[in-house]
Amino acid sequence: MKVLVPIKRVVDYNVKVRPKSDGSDADLANLKMSINPFCEIAVEEAVRLREKGAVTEIVAVSIGMQQSQEQLRTALALGADRAILISTDLAVEPLAIAKCLKALMDSEKPDIVLLGKQAIDGDNNQTGQMLGAFTGYAQGTFASELTLEDGRAVVKREVDGGLQTVSLELPAIVTSDLRLNEPRYASLPNIMKAKRKPLDTMTPEELGVDVSPRTQLINVRLPAERVAGIIVEDVATLVDKLKNEAKVIS
């Protein structure tokens, strides 16, 4: 069984991001970049499935700038067998990523595509669902547990108000939630071995996909600073303030 794990290069979650001074975008110059944490969980899950003998091959793929190779190497160090970079300098959107993945799936024919539920930069939470629509495959999003049995993928999903279990026909699309697993540290020997694993590069054009953006970023700015709160004397004052000052109730 083959698993395709798409991963994204994002600003490390420990870094505090600021807008550029002209407000045109977030300022990412010289920031520490990492593999998106949800993608890392997806890689870890694929590796665990292989350790259980359910999976035989793990292919990591990233769509983005050349430097995304670094994150693919991380995936290889964690246990992916080979990696593919679909290289583009354009800022790729979920729609473009999903189209690239669909095109890649036509040749790779994975049994499961295991994605992060969202990337911590754009917080879009769309790629997996769009890929589900393009392929027509069953999807199990927000997975907090994934088991393979009798040629089906059983996914425990984190939904509002509890857990939902779905059984998916393969091939299937699964997106990982935070509690799916706790990723291991890549061992130092495996980091060194990752360099020798295959990493192929292709372009969206070769896949016949137009990745040009469909949305335009107009402005990025920090949220307004919070001002200090006050302690009100009684409930009546509170209600009055909510009505007449904050105007959040009427």
């Binding site: 670094e70 190497r73 160090a77 540290y185 130092l188 980091i191 060194m192 990752a194 360099k195």
Partner: protein
């Protein structure tokens, strides 16, 4: 072969993450309990920390000196007791075999040391033999194809968890100096080995040191490092391992100094007196700046000495310069860190007070500061004659 920049960066960021997520939160507990949780030791094994310096052909990472130093600077950001767990396997406990061992010894011991399945310990110091380490009194007397060892080794790091000792013993009774000493690989199960209670130390709680007594211990002559051909050449082996070890300790000192500076600056920015953060007082800024400048100087020395060694150039004097300067530096930095913290710096609950005790050791083992000074001066004077 040196690693490419990208792989090295991945290696370092993984170690950094392990240090900040797994080790730092345990520092106070380890100090309190004088014990490193076994699960953490297993994680260190899985990560590959025991085999940093052991060649890849024998299951290690085969890092060169510079790469090793960069990893150790990251490790230095947390309590040095953690480093001690895998310190001997990467240094004095394995490098003798790496440098002078027979092919058979390498094949047998190095993979076990690299994986951390075997802990190696280095037994040179004795009750009457410290800085004058060539004066080893432990005796090894030949009986058939074995040697019989008798004597006591002092302050042996990791002895209580070791399965393998590198023991220095006098094989030539007629030669009182370094030229009569051989290095033996001794299995910890060998009958006649007795360990003392662990010493109660000033710092680095969690890392254990005790005395090891050899009472009629029979060791095959094939266990001389490098085989019987290297009889009476053990001290040479010991000194060779120390070059690299001294640069390693200097790198560790740089890591600890970085942590101390970072902690001090954070504190100075938050703590207010006379209506403003104490970081705004120039007298404190002076301390912070001196610490940073000295730490940076030590870092540059370490990297330069490591590169010299990796290039195959003589580096004994440079290694001593690094060990002397960096360990004295971290002593001063720790002292200033306590000062910047004021009364809080004297309290156990603040990391700087623990580091202050921990880093004191660096000026003493693997050659005291005075011994480093002697080596440096001796080298220069010899060249002038």
């Amino acid at each position: 072969m040196a690693l490419d920049q990208e792989t090295l960066e991945q290696l370092l960021s993984t170690v950094r993450r392990f240090v900040s997520q797994r080790l730092m939160p345990l520092e106070a507990q380890v100090d309190e309990e004088d014990r490193i949780p076994p699960t953490v030791v297993s994680e260190m094994r899985e990560l590959g920390l025991f085999g940093l310096t052991i060649p890849q052909a024998y299951g290690g990472l085969g890092l060169n000196t510079e790469e090793e130093c960069r990893v150790i600077m990251e490790i230095g950001l947390t309590s040095p007791a953690f480093r001690s767990v895998f310190g001997t396997n990467n240094g004095i406990g394995s490098q003798g075999i790496v440098m002078d061992g027979t092919e058979e010894q390498k094949n047998h011991y190095l993979p076990l040391l690299a994986s951390g399945d075997v802990i190696g310990s280095f037994a040179l110091t004795e009750p009457d033999v410290g800085s004058d380490s060539g004066a080893v009194k432990t005796k090894a007397v030949k009986e058939g194809d074995h040697y019989v060892l008798n004597g006591t080794k002092r302050y042996t790091t990791n002895a209580s968890s070791a399965q393998l000792f590198t023991v220095f013993a006098r094989t030539d009774a007629s030669e009182p100096g370094a030229r009569g000493v051989s290095a033996f690989l001794v299995d910890a199960n060998t009958p006649g080995i007795v360990l003392s209670e662990p010493y109660k130390k000033m710092g680095q709680k969690g890392a254990h040191v005790c005395d090891v007594t050899f009472d009629d211990c029979r060791v095959p002559q094939a266990n001389i490092i490098g085989g019987p051909d290297r009889l009476n050449k053990g001290f040479e082996t010991a000194m060779k391992t120390l070059d690299r070890g001294r640069i390693h300790i200097a790198a560790l000192s740089v890591g600890c100094a970085r942590r101390l500076i970072d902690t001090s600056v954070t504190y100075a920015v938050e703590r207010k007196q006379f209506g403003k953060p104490i970081a705004e007082f120039q007298l404190l800024q002076g301390m912070i700046a001196d610490s940073q400048a000295e730490c940076y100087a030590a870092e540059c020395m370490v990297i330069d000495a490591a590169r010299r060694r990796d290039a195959g150039l003589p580096a004994t004097m440079q290694a001593s310069c690094c060990k002397l300067f960096a360990t004295e530096m971290v002593g001063k930095v720790a002292d200033r860190a306590v000062q910047i913290h004021g009364g809080a710096g004297y309290m156990e609950e603040y990391a700087v007070s623990r580091f202050y005790r921990d880093v004191r050791l660096f000026r003493i083992y693997e050659g005291t500061s005075q011994i480093q000074q002697s080596i440096i001066a001796r080298n220069l004077i010899r060249a002038a004659r």
